[in-house]
Amino acid sequence: MAVPILKQSHTLIASIQSALSDRDLLQLRDDLADLVGRHRARGVIVDVTALDVLDSFATRTLRGIAYTTKLRGAETVIVGIQPEVALAMVQLGLTLEGVPTALDLEEGLAFLDGRTETADDGRR
């Protein structure tokens, strides 16, 4: 099941709609790495609100997405991790090491806005 990816200004928003298989997650990683370049995106938001499980593979792949897009010049924020999913991740010992997270899409966009403004200032 392909994940729809929308573009808003300099940000790509991957809005996961339903449970994803390992293969779907890897496809999302590859799609985002490609689309960051094609759309000259500076930020990526992966919305995982619809995911009822983030197991070791999914967590590792989300980290992979964040590191890959960073190498392509875009910062990734993971938004929408549900409370029970967060609890299970902690029990499993899973972390997103260094990958920014935000409560929801709105907070994620606000976080990236802050980042890209700072980057703009730096270029002037």
Binding site: S21, D52, V53, D55, S56, R60, G93, L94
Partner: protein, 138 residues
Amino acid sequence: MSELHLGAVVRVRIQSSADIVTARQEGRTMATTLGFTNTTLTIIATAISEVARNIVEYAKEGEISIAPVGNGTVRGLQIVARDQGPGIVDLETAMRDGYSTSKSLGMGLPGAKRLMDQFEISSAIGEGTTITMTKWIG
């Protein structure tokens, strides 16, 4: 020690990563009817995901069976993951955090053990691996 099956067993054939999703959804459905809390539903689904992936990565195929069980007055959900794969050479090492011979980072089986109340694993070289894990209500 001896748990009684209290209802029909649901079996899911595991051959691909899509079957991992099916297995955890079946587990969640049965756990919901048994009255587990939302947090525990997620914990059970996550543990199923880890043992199902273990089958796909190491044995290529196998089966997950999910059943309601009882022991005295307590009720719970029991998951059995069975494969006829190569088996695990060193069980003790395989259950250690961070150990993996595959591309995963070895969080899977020790992680599933932490998530469940009971977790037993048996494996024979060339014959396969069986994991039995249970979560009790309350």
